[in-house]
């Protein structure tokens, strides 16, 4: 009983792959820019970039964007709790600025 939903196709997949690769390249590139690594933007920027990668893989490759909304609930609910837990833990261990470590 496969459910029917308009599926992304090679066109989308291709672009997604491209974006993922580009972001990855940028991530690694900034890693090698000492001045940027030193700046306080470094961590937030990296986090945002990986968050974007994370999101588009989930939305397009795991086609959560097109699938039954139930699945969205099953995934995002736990994800939120997981992220909150990690943040609180890092706070408790005085790591909130991750670079402090």
């Amino acid at each position: 009983m496969g459910e029917v939903h308009e599926h992304p196709n090679w066109g989308t997949y291709k672009w997604v792959a491209l974006i993922l690769s580009v972001i990855t390249v940028v991530e690694v590139w900034v890693y090698y820019v000492p001045s940027f690594v030193a700046s306080r933007l470094f961590v937030p920027v990296l986090l945002t970039m990986s968050a974007v990668k994370f999101a588009i893989v989930v939305m397009f490759y795991m086609h959560l964007k097109y699938d039954h909304k139930l699945f969205r609930a099953l995934f995002t609910g736990p994800l939120i709790i997981a992220i909150l837990t990690m943040v609180i833990l890092l706070f408790l261990f005085g790591h909130l600025a991750i670079r402090a470590g």
Partner: protein, 227 residues
């Protein structure tokens, strides 16, 4: 009213599921949700212990005597890991193509009739491709681990070693399971061919595979890039 109206006439076959979705797909998503907490615990531990090791080697910092017997350079090998990360990303692309190929088996030429079109339509090709890329990633990891050990970082060496190897090891184990799963599917595909009616089982393995990929995206940033 309660038991009066009959949903399906007494007997044959199963009633349709409440949501019309397949059990297994719901289960795998619940499982993935659970995995979020699993990896959260591992990653949090790594981050909590970041910079707490009393002796080297360290991920990003040099370790000088007396803290270490001899001067040890930062141990993480970003170039290599970047490549393996890219490999894993591409494996996800191959995976979605495999799924698309299976879903469209019954529409010959759906992807065009050219060589590329025929390639796109071959589920075997993409399943194999995904498995190979996954295996390549594992190869990189094996290389990384061995070189670390040679440079003096074992799982017993320090907090960094313990938490690093356990975290990436757990991820590696997930990839391994994924590769075996893909090979099983490939075997079935070769034996009797996978068609639209099998789309679901491929879909499920794909979801698992992409999740493992997504976890790596997080690890790559939090463990390798952020200093």
């Amino acid at each position: 009213m309660a038991t009066a109206a009959t949903a399906d006439v007494v007997g044959h076959g199963h009633p349709p599921t409440t949501t019309g979705l397949d059990h297994r797909k719901i289960a795998i998503w619940a499982f993935i949700g659970s995995e979020c907490m699993l990896f959260t615990s591992l990653i949090s531990t790594y981050l909590v212990y970041k910079g707490r090791s009393v002796t080297g080697p360290f991920p990003h910092e040099v370790c000088n005597p007396p803290q270490c017997a001899t001067t040890l350079k930062p141990i993480l090998n970003i170039p290599v890991t970047s490549v393996s990360t890219f490999v894993l990303l591409m494996s996800s692309l191959a995976m979605v193509l495999a799924l698309a190929a299976v879903e469209n088996k019954d529409k010959p030429g759906w992807a065009g009739t050219g060589a590329w079109g025929r390639a796109l339509a071959s589920s075997k090709l993409w399943l194999l491709m995904t498995a190979i890329l996954g295996a390549t990633f594992l190869g990189f990891q094996a290389f990384e681990f061995t070189s670390f050990v040679h440079e003096g970082l074992t799982i017993r060496q320090n907090l960094f070693g313990s938490s690093f190897f356990t975290l990436t090891g757990f991820h590696g184990a997930h990839v391994t399971v994924g590769v075996l799963w893909l090979l099983t599917l490939l075997a079935i595909d070769v034996r009797r061919g996978l068609g639209p009616k099998d789309a679901l089982i491929v879909d499920i393995s794909a979801l698992y595979w992409h999740f493992v990929d997504v976890v790596w995206i997080a690890i790559f940033t939090l463990v390798y890039l952020i200093r």
